[in-house]
Symmetry: C2
């Protein structure tokens, strides 16, 4: 990312801070006043520079449409309550609220994420405890060793996935549990993160 001049950085920092504090963008004149600048044109030029350099976004002629380009997106992920086979599992209405999740490095299609509260101790050796929240990316294929969410007997379950001899093995990560062998598995998605609150 192209370097900012000292003054550009000052102005960028102000915009960012305002955005965080108020929840919306300062206007050109707000910036002018705060930075002790005499003319709106000066500010306007800075804004164009910051946009050109990739630090800001704005929509032309729209008031207060500035926003810092954020490289770590924040997703508001619906927590799915009960999962039932036939029904529209991912209907927006049938959720238990939301969790906020921001990944490291990668990006997701916002609508392809959902979350699940884990019940039971079948994955404790993988560090997924009862009550943990897993963030899941919807997909219908998986590779060996990936932790997935699958639909078993009308219930969503978290297991490690293996394809063997044309069949599937869903492996709990807990010696007290037995693996599930099946010819057919309906994969809801891959676990991309897990969160625990103390």
């Amino acid at each position: 990312m192209e370097q900012l001049t000292p003054r550009e950085k000052e102005i960028f920092d102000y915009i960012t801070r305002q955005f965080e504090e108020t929840g919306y963008s300062p206007s050109v004149r707000d910036i002018r006043a705060a930075m002790g600048i005499g003319s709106t044109a000066t500010v306007y030029n800075y804004i164009e520079k910051l946009c050109d350099k990739g630090y800001l976004r704005k929509d032309a002629s729209k008031s207060r449409s500035l926003r810092p380009v954020d490289d770590t997106p924040v997703y508001r992920v619906p927590v799915i309550g009960k999962v039932t086979a036939g029904s529209p599992i991912f209907a927006y209405e049938d959720n238990d609220g939301f969790v906020t999740f921001s990944p490291e490095g990668r990006r997701f299609n916002s609508s392809s994420l959902f979350a699940l509260k884990v019940r039971g101790r079948s994955m404790i050796n993988a560090g997924i405890l009862d009550g943990d929240t897993v963030i899941v990316e919807r997909c219908d294929v998986a590779y060996n060793g990936e932790i997935i969410v699958a639909l078993i007997d009308d219930e969503a379950t978290v297991k490690t996935f293996y394809a063997e001899d044309g069949k599937f093995r869903l492996q709990p990560e807990n010696d007290e549990y037995e693996p599930i062998f099946t010819d057919h598995v309906r994969i809801l998605g891959k676990v991309v993160a897990s969160i625990r609150y103390y």
Copy 2:
């Protein structure tokens, strides 16, 4: 929270969605157009209602200053790199970037949070694996059974805390590790959440 009428909810949902998609608030006329309403006054009344009922915030006479009242705050938490005893541990400069964290239910003083990348397997029985990120709330006291971050030999370590017979026991959650007994412990904070990325 006071109930919304059907139409109020439609309008609130539109504002929320716009906010998420564009990063800034729609104007009164944006809403008017999108909702198929003939007059800005109608929209204006709805906005006032939504503010009165506590669903929206706005600043008087400021364009595009609407924002949904968000009850789950999002914290941008600095990831502390190396921790050294005497030095200003929490200096902003010395960090490994940020993680975004939003708690369930409770609120924190934003400046009292920091994050740590866990190294080693000493807490695996508590579901904290090598590479996990723990979110820590700064504090200098703890109660028995709480998972804390303490300073041992100039290094930050995550352990379960116990005070016994006027001494302290820092308990690893892994049978291969021995507890640390000490007369004096410098507590950096309590673990309030842990996050793992796959």
